[in-house]
Symmetry: D2
């Protein structure tokens, strides 16, 4: 039978159009046209819906990938999932993570039984989503379906083995709103920002609920247009979602552990209990397999830490551990909230190349007040 | 002989004009007109030179104090030093710290010999500073002189016993620049922001060099107008300075430990090695006397942690531990930089009522890249 | 019988707490405790819901007025209507307009028949508005009722004689939302900004529809919670509204012309056809009685121009006269939109002391894309 | 002999990478590989030194031009001058202006004597400028030399015939500062913003003084490193300059009128007297040949108005016509100042496709407080 061997390569980017890291990986044979399955990263720029740094990076990376794969530009999305999250305020190094998957022929049908489960990856595209579906059940259902396909692609059947589902979905733009309304359709919001009633967060949150629906974290019966950004008791503990106006379909890349995997990597995740919970970040590293006592992981531990993926949703309350904060009043709360998540992670990992997205107020990505942190660790051998 | 007994009371503020915490302390007798020596705090608002939240808080707190002390408004500054730092982006709870000092009659001329040194405080006002002195030797020398007076007032003779010197000095305003130039004088900058060439940071840094000169951290011979914000090898490890356009003279409040003190508090400080150095924050807590193993202080430790005072100067380099960050490019780097310092401290102290000022790029407050953290801890009894 | 004589005095403010202009007017007898009916102005600060410049100005002006009127602070609102609009980005000079009204004994019951109608003013407070009423029919009805009372107070019966209705209503705050929800009530938005789905604009627009309802511009039957910020065909041409979290009741000050008035001032208004329509501004000056040919009013004209009150709502479309603009995408569209209105007015009036509020996207204040401009002119004698 | 025939084509851009307007011009034969001499435009994005909208547009436009001209990418700059100014806040439509120049064989050596002078264009690149030259005499001299070459290329000898000199020069970046300092060189500023002491404005202003030196507006003897952004009495009335970190050499495109020109266009310029001077804008249109009475140009006039190029430098004073404004205190003064210039122009031209750059505080581009406005008009035939 065939078993997966998954690798991750983290390439810092010197500018939005910097493909030199990928080129080097290609040159060394670490990534190959038939093994590259996803490019996940943080791009520098405003992080807003018209973040030209992200858009430019997206264009350049797709062009690079088309050339690398020797396929037409329009076929790139069928082969490689892109999840680019815009905005690196503070201490978040712009970077791209190349995810590769090889299929290894194994004799043993049961995997390396008795061994620790190891990293697997699956991906799927969704059906196209219309502007009027953004932030609503249409988007939820299409993301749920794509998530199920991604689980299949990963070879996973138990949702508990899923530790991270990254989703990129269409948001709204001035043009797409106009389009919807010209067809007599309403849209979920006219606010193009990532403010609390902004189209961007509705899209992100519908995507998160789609993941939750697929994994059984939230029963479908509880879902409706009305619960999106209203009922915070419904959430996923593994969904990290983002949205961009320029997309027309969703993309899902899903990570989990499987005992049939031949990877040398393992993934784990945890949820912080509140916005300043450094222990929650440590827990994520531990669940992934770093065994450090108290304090911070040391250099030897960190040499095994491949990457951290984290959300930094800002709390909907003005209280943290009983004291008032004014984050919700900050004119640039979106930037500051994302930056703060970057610091929380960096203060634990001792490095700035962490994937941290967020800045929105409240989310169905993680429980109220808490945030999702996933870590990928190289196993000891 | 007389010995000091110093206390600190931390009052969260619900708005810039909230004096209810102070009023309660006054009502309970914890602060008295003849024991209140300083009010130090973080006020909500923009943190910019025209931060009306800070200005309003300053007006209201001075009025409250005048009434409490039963002195004319103009005499408040002679009795109580005010250090209000504007801007609470992110997870910094607006708060005011009331510092009290009682003089205790003791039999023993040598203090409680053999015991640990305990907290003492001293304060001093400086001579008025003209706009043309801001950010230059005039300001440096006047702050140095005030720092020496504050050491005397604290009863300290050895600079090594000094752990925190908070200074508030005049900055520049459109009006004060006009005034200086109408008298044929130049000013250090026409940039009223806290950008890297802004008048606000020149004022802050001249104040820091004034402290460094007074404490012997930098010899006077090395100081000149030209080194301010140019020679980063000159710095203080205990100066936390801020500036506001509306002031005409500097104010210094200085904290240290003395074996003659009868306080139940102790102060310590440390310097972070870089912008994400959570261990540096832990070290500050430990030097002040918290004894926790690895990780984070537990609740019992934290019950003894009275307050943390920290700077969050953003690094002048675009590299942190070898990776590029874009913080210097952030449109709102000043806010984000301050907010990030708030998170670094809160992630260790597990609370948001920390005094964190900063946001400026580079400073003579602390070594290049690093920041000063001071902690006050209640001694175990 | 009694006839009104209304005057307006424009006082630039050097800071949010500057009452020197008012004090001078009081000293010269231009304003008296029994003639001062309203204080309307622009205050410097962020213009956001936590604009401490505006809050501080409000506190200081109320204290000054209490002292001037010799009434308790809580009684100020019964005597003088305050409409302070925060935020003076660009070329809007912070200022306060004192509006006075004297009652003149006249022999003639019909006023000065045959003469031009002249300025009258009326004011009224509304019933308290709960957080759950903000942006909804509750607020609309209470503003409508207050507007009717203000018309009565002005001695006006024909809505066509009304040229400007300034309204200040409560918005939402983190605290008031918490209050409402703790009582099981929903609120119109959790977005505290003035973004397109922000609580601040819902409050402003409910107030505008309240004015429209009172003046018959919109029939009550067409009004409901659902039309607010949804049906842009419903609007007032004379309502200028703003909102602030700290208020609990609405305040209305209404201006019109009456032939029974003994004022030497006259008011007129016009609506711009789009966001760059300088001719619309000129029209407002002309309807108020400035007779200038083409171009700009000359100095003699301007000596008669007492004040201009204008809105600067940003268009909901990304097109102006057929060309795309990116204003809706600007991170600080709220500030820029307000500033642009200030420039449009100043480029015509040749002065910066204009009352310009706005920045919100779309509004029931004025028709879609257009803005309201009212001008008060001294009549020629 | 040969005479110039110059045309300008204004193409709105739907995104930073939109070349459809140019493609259409190419398709219709309006622009040809051997007639295209300059691309001048406004690109959407942050307008900051790391404005990825502008950078992306630059990359895409150069690629398009290389293909159109059938030359290697590196040779584009030798053939076509690019002046892209980033940032379209408010009512500035992103657009690109294609400038073409044909050489017409004429019988008459003296031009069409007796006729009005018509538009000519010249362009030149400068020698490379090192980071340490930015904002200093090195940059001034290299721009002056390039300006003289551009005059020659335009066939102009009298500086009075020059009405607009657009210059793009290198600014500083974190990387180029590091480079300079690693070679023991100092740089003019470490502030990468366009604040009053920012590297961007020093570069812009050195470029302006370079133009002034070349045209004799400022004698070389008065120029030195020390006068840049210090002596505001030195300025050009026709220089519009901008800077970008990614460039290594300057580019100049110069417009004037010549009686030997066979163009159907004419250029004129004027200077506004202050920041709200709409009459100054009207004067620019009139000097270019629009003859309208008072008020605003009508549609027939505007059909002849080809394009307006304007600066919007914000005043160094906090006073406009005797009243205080707080523009200098605005956190986003750079954006707001640029946006206000866009409104001032659009309110006169009745359109939003105007080239408006600026936002910096004070400049050697135009006299203190005033701004340069140039207009190109199609002559009546």
């Amino acid at each position: 039978m065939k078993a997966q061997r998954v690798e991750m390569f983290v390439c810092p980017m010197a500018s939005p159009s910097d493909t030199s890291g990928l080129q080097k990986l290609a040159g060394s044979g670490n990534i190959k046209p038939d093994t590259l399955v996803a490019l996940v990263g943080k791009t520098e720029g405003t992080g807003a819906h018209d973040d030209w740094g992200r858009v430019w990076a997206d264009v350049v990376l797709r062009e690079w990938t088309a050339k690398f794969l020797d396929v037409p530009l329009d076929d790139v999305a069928k082969n490689v999932i892109f999840v680019l999250s815009g905005g690196c305020p503070g201490v978040i190094t712009p970077h791209i993570v190349a995810v590769t998957r090889e299929w290894i022929e194994t004799a043993d049908a049961d995997g390396h039984a008795g061994e620790d489960p190891r990293l697997v990856v699956g991906r799927a595209g969704s059906d196209p989503m219309s502007p009027e579906e953004v932030g609503r059940m249409g988007q939820i259902r299409k993301v749920a379906e794509a998530t199920r396909h991604a689980m299949e692609d990963a070879g996973l059947t138990d949702p508990h083995d899923v530790h991270l589902v990254m989703v990129k979905v269409p948001g709204l733009t001035t043009a797409s709103i106009k389009d919807a309304e010209s067809r007599g359709k309403s849209v979920v919001s006219h606010d193009l920002t990532f403010g609390p009633e902004g189209a961007g967060v509705y899209a992100n949150d519908a995507a998160a609920l789609g993941v939750a629906m697929a994994l059984g974290e939230v029963p479908e019966a509880k879902l409706s247009d009305e619960v999106v950004r209203r009922n915070w008791d419904l959430y996923s503990e593994v969904a990290m979602t983002s949205s961009g106006g320029e997309k027309r379909h969703g993309e899902v890349v899903l990570f989990g552990n499987s005992s049939s995997s031949r990877s040398s990597l393992r993934i784990g995740h945890a949820v912080t209990k509140d916005f300043i919970d450094a222990d929650g970040v440590r827990n994520a590293l531990r669940t992934a397999g770093l065994r450090f006592n108290g304090g911070l992981p040391d250099e030897s531990d960190l040499s095994r830490l491949v990457h951290v993926f984290a959300k930094s949703v800002i709390p909907g309350s003005d209280q943290v551990r009983g004291q008032r904060i004014t984050l919700l009043d900050d004119a640039d709360a979106y930037q500051i909230g994302k930056a703060l998540g970057g610091m929380l992670i960096a203060s634990v990992t001792g490095r700035t190349t962490n994937y941290v997205s967020g800045g929105e107020r409240n989310s169905h990505q993680g429980p109220p007040g808490g945030n999702i942190v996933a870590a990928v660790v190289r196993t000891e051998t």
